[in-house]
């Protein structure tokens, strides 16, 4: 803040300042105290926890590294495996979501789409046909091929006669509205699908699912970001004969790095903390950290000291992200997207 700035009418009177600090400090305490308790508990021995609350290390009790040693050394592989899973799954799924989502967002801003309502209805009808046929005992492969042929034939003949079409805005709204879908409503068929593909309890299953569920967020945020980019550069490149892919890769993406980073971070946090889908789709091999933390209760009862260590190693990276994110968000990335 500039110290030479003239005293503004915006400055609070002293009493107001005090009240503001009291409120802000109060909420900071509400936020920080649970975290403080988490840290302190991880340095306690069982006896310190069970004999009633003690607050200050070195004063109330002698801190010990037992819990940390147990989780990081004794249970090394049991901790490392879900941790690596979480890192791999959240990074890859976020990267995938970012790739697919930003391409779609870019396309929705730059190219006109006009999917005809009638053709969409035809497509849905053919899918339904295939499903019913498969349900009646026709081999799935045959049903899919026949339905596909039907669709191609109808779309090429009848399809041209439909005139009502959706706009880019409708498409974008449809993609974003997928976020309304509660995961629990779709997870059982996904479970069966991955079971059929023999992908249950693998990282691949989690990566694909997370990427798809986070796509709407990416499309929503990046669409707004791309819309604000200067259009002249891309145009110049097109005049010089660059293809659409080339323009997207060499001009649009490099220009949108701040937006991409912020979106990546947001999606990453979602994937890092995801619980419900992991609960259904992974058991032992692909288990992620939220499940490991959640399972503590069932296996060993409330052993707060171990749990505190686990929660801490899980949240430390995202806390670092939060600090990074604060800078990006305060530049107003989110607000632009939220205004619309």
């Amino acid at each position: 803040m500039n110290p030479l700035r003239r005293r503004s009418v915006k400055d609070l009177p002293p009493a107001g300042k005090l009240a503001a600090y009291l409120v802000l400090g109060g909420w900071a305490l509400v936020v920080l105290f649970p975290l403080y308790w988490l840290v302190v508990t991880s340095f306690k021995l069982p006896i310190h926890v069970n004999s009633g609350p003690v607050y200050l290390p070195f004063v109330d009790f002698e801190p010990s590294l037992d819990a940390w040693r147990y989780i990081l050394v004794d249970l090394r592989s049991d901790t490392l495996r879900p941790y690596v899973n979480t890192v791999v799954v959240s990074l890859s799924s976020s990267a995938l979501a970012l790739l697919l989502g930003s391409a779609a967002a870019y396309a929705l801003i730059r190219f006109p789409y006009a999917p005809r309502v009638g053709v969409i209805a035809l497509f849905a009808g053919c899918v339904l046909l295939a499903a019913v046929a498969a349900g009646l005992g026709v081999p799935p492969a045959v049903a899919v091929v026949v339905a596909g042929a039907c669709f191609a034939l109808l779309a090429a003949t009848v399809g041209r006669r439909f005139t009502r079409a959706l706009s880019n805005r409708d498409l974008a709204f449809w993609v974003i509205s997928q976020r309304i879908l509660p995961p629990v409503a779709v997870v059982i068929p996904i479970y069966v699908l991955f079971q059929q593909l023999r992908l249950l309890d693998t990282r691949t299953a989690l990566i694909l699912t997370y990427a798809a569920t986070n796509l709407p967020i990416v499309v929503w945020l990046m669409r707004d970001y791309f819309d604000k980019l200067p259009w002249e550069l891309e145009e110049a490149a097109v005049v010089d004969g660059a293809s659409a892919f080339r323009v997207f890769r060499s001009i649009t993406l490099p220009l949108s790095v701040p937006g991409l980073v912020a979106t990546f971070l947001i999606v990453l946090v979602f994937a890092w903390n995801e619980y419900l889908l992991a609960l259904f789709l992974s058991s032992a091999d692909a288990q992620t950290m939220p499940l490991t933390v959640a399972a503590q209760n069932a296996t060993r009862g409330p052993q707060w000291w171990y749990m505190s260590v686990l929660i801490q190693i899980m949240i430390l990276p995202v806390i670092a992200l939060a600090i990074a994110l604060e800078r990006v968000v305060s530049r107003g990335l989110l607000v632009g997207a939220v205004k619309g």
Binding site: L12, L100, V184, L215
Partner: protein
């Protein structure tokens, strides 16, 4: 390309689209194949993870899982799962136990119905189209039904809210508290106080923590015997009290955890909105001698209202999905008192009652969709497009 066409600034809705059309015809001569290559991967991902599963799920909700030799099969049973949920043996779990409301309950119900009727009357006077009127009447009937259910289960002696009612309570209480807290904190941080950055970072933290971790932290904190607040509980004589044995205590614990976790989201977006508003009007108001409250009420609030309605919409959609907190913090207990709809569906899945689970999930989908659509049409559209 003339300059007007590429002029920047926020362009909403149809304007974006018009620009898109003109631009692409003029320059980016992307062929059909290229355009398809950009968008189809994302559409396919959504089709495979959302739309097809949704269709299959609908079938599952109309069927019962039968274990047969060498595997399992789904037997079609029509609407039996839903009948069971709404009128049969699962009604107590899903909708709750209904009793005649207390006088307070009647009062609340009367006030709510009055508000709904008034809204309807205003829409009619304002000359809404016949379709709009029909949709509004439908929405009002649904809202009245939900209100009637809430009053009968919550504000009634011996009544007990089921998972549907509990989820709605989580959403309503959570969003109201988060919005007010977030707005208040964001407003304070726009007041040029030293140390802002510290508060910003701190206030953002809870959002980043995994809900499972939050649930365990609040389990530690609410432990009246070994938790850090034990002296406080002892002072008010609650040492032997167990949150997890009292239905409302447990629900409050879940709501507090939820508010703690998601206030930051409201806070950060509203803060950015407040900082992004036009400072000249604010200064002008101050110079003209308007009080701080008047400025907030008549300048800042209208300016950020579109953002407010959008964050509330986002939270509305996400809050209905709550599962981690009640599952870890209270295991859905005591009994089923803190179960949300997602948790209800998960528990049914775990007991291999897949049809019932899908029926619960579909009911949740229905509730969220109705709530979101009604919110968008009645609140958001009015504010965002004055």
């Amino acid at each position: 390309m003339n300059a007007a066409r590429v002029s920047r600034g926020r362009v909403a809705g149809p304007a974006i689209e018009d620009q898109t059309r003109r631009r692409s015809r003029a320059s980016l001569g992307a062929s059909f194949a290229v355009r398809a290559a950009f968008i189809w991967p994302a559409l396919l991902a959504i089709l495979f993870v959302s739309i097809f599963p949704l269709v299959v799920s609908l079938y599952i909700s109309l069927s019962r899982l039968k274990l047969v030799r060498g595997g399992f099969e789904f037997r079609f049973i029509g609407l039996d799962n839903f009948r069971e949920l709404y009128f049969g043996g699962e009604q107590r779990h899903f909708l709750g136990v209904t009793r005649p409301p207390t006088p307070l309950g009647w009062l609340v119900l009367g006030a709510g119905l009055g508000l709904l009727g008034w809204g309807l009357y205003r829409a009619w006077r304002a000359g809404a189209s016949p379709t709009g009127m029909v949709l509004r009447v439908l929405g009002v009937l649904l809202a009245a039904g939900a209100m009637w259910l809430l009053v009968q289960t919550v504000l009634a002696d011996g009544g007990r809210p089921g998972t549907a009612a509990v989820t709605v309570i989580y959403v309503l209480v959570g969003i109201t508290a988060q919005f007010l807290l977030g707005l208040g904190l964001a407003y304070l941080l726009t007041q040029r106080l030293p140390g802002q950055r510290f508060f910003r970072v701190v206030f953002l933290l809870p959002m980043m923590i995994t809900p499972v971790g939050v649930a365990y932290m609040f389990r530690m904190l609410t432990d009246t015997g070994k938790g850090p607040l034990q002296p406080l509980w002892a002072a008010v004589g609650l040492t032997d009290y167990s949150w997890v044995n009292d239905p409302w205590g447990a629900r409050v614990a879940v709501m507090v955890g939820d508010i703690w976790q998601w206030t930051p989201f409201m806070f950060i977006v509203l803060l950015a909105a407040l900082e992004g508003q036009d400072q000249d009007t604010v200064e002008a108001g101050l110079v003209d001698g308007a009080s701080r409250w008047q400025i907030f009420r008549h300048i800042s609030l209208p300016a950020i209202l579109p953002v407010c309605t959008t964050v509330v919409l986002i939270r509305l959609i996400e809050a209905f999905k709550i599962i981690d907190l009640p599952n870890i913090l209270t295991n859905g207990g005591p009994g089923t008192a803190t179960e949300s709809l997602s948790l209800h569906a998960y528990i049914r899945w775990r007991t291999l009652d897949l049809g019932q689970s899908a029926a619960v999930a579909y009911s949740l989908l229905f509730i969220v969709t109705v709530a979101a659509v009604a919110y968008v049409n009645l609140v958001r559209r009015r504010v965002a497009e004055p």
